[in-house]
Subunit: 221 residues, 2 copies
Amino acid sequence: MEFTSCFPQWDKLSPAQQRRVLDSVVEKHFEKGAVIHDGSADCTGLLLMRSGQLRAFILSEDGREISIYRLFERDICLFSASCMLRSIRFSVNIEAEKDSDLWVIPAEVYQSLMEQSAPLANYTNELMASRFSEVMWLMEQILWMSMDKRLAAFLLEEAVLEESDSFAITHEQIARHLGTAREVVTRMLRYFRSEGMVSLSRGSIRILDEEKLSRLAEGRL
Amino acid sequence: MEFTSCFPQWDKLSPAQQRRVLDSVVEKHFEKGAVIHDGSADCTGLLLMRSGQLRAFILSEDGREISIYRLFERDICLFSASCMLRSIRFSVNIEAEKDSDLWVIPAEVYQSLMEQSAPLANYTNELMASRFSEVMWLMEQILWMSMDKRLAAFLLEEAVLEESDSFAITHEQIARHLGTAREVVTRMLRYFRSEGMVSLSRGSIRILDEEKLSRLAEGRL
């Protein structure tokens, strides 16, 4: 995949602006599990996903987590460069869920281009609106949706991402995705098993009845 | 207050662009309690607050509410014009909490200016980042903070907004702000009363011990 086909509004940048991006971009590889961006501690820069899968999550003071969105091929991670937006007053952590190849653009380079280029600034607006929408969706889930439905939806999403009905994941990891306690996940998975929706083995889960799980997730059960 | 001192980046617009804004802006007055923007049902336009107080909230399918932020003098409401951002996939409701005077700018006018003007697009970015931060703060509260702390913080905020230790509000209204049930609010307010932090009378609340309420809200009690 070509970098220039991934960079937003590339054709609307001047040759000098394009030069500036090409001179500053760095390619980086991260192993599965690597921490890519650690909250407000650093300003990693804008990330363009060449391949792989990232997870963005927030952390409570006492170490609890919840996933807020995921990033895939061609996605752009804005909040790893949140230092360029004065009004961002929250911190997001990013880790690699699969081996990932990224292009990193320094925050100050992207920021100065955005100040010059209305198309790039408007694109960035749409990008933030899109992440905002994901977070609003999550908040609505947390507020109005019970944990059994959220867990059912999460398992179905995992099966799609892993392209398999069976995937390796611990109850602890699921709890961190959903922002709940491990015990809650274990109890609910046992209930799903008793209903014939999943089978459980050490460190992995297999979906047995996708249709029933879907009905549960959508509140039609 | 002058309109041109409230419109973002006014001095960076061309005379023709300024003309376009002035030709399209409409002044509107809303009584306390009026619905100003009804989710995705309409595209009201960009709102500039001349005076008053607005509440932005989301609604569940079964009619539950939670306040996501408030708007005051000179604030700008972007999500009443969310039709201009393709990537916004959630709907926000806006109502007047006090009598309010607003300037309304049609979404298509603001959008076309933003497409031409990098300063305006970047300003809009900061605006969205600011609302995003408020929603992230709220989500962290919902996830990691117990309802007694949230209620204590809410009462202290109300006292500041009303500029009085005593203010008229029903338990039902508080429940809608916090996204919980009226019974939960009533039970907790009775507990606050038993601890000497508030006194309760029909339709109003008086804060008796602000310091203790602050310590509760900050987890120092």
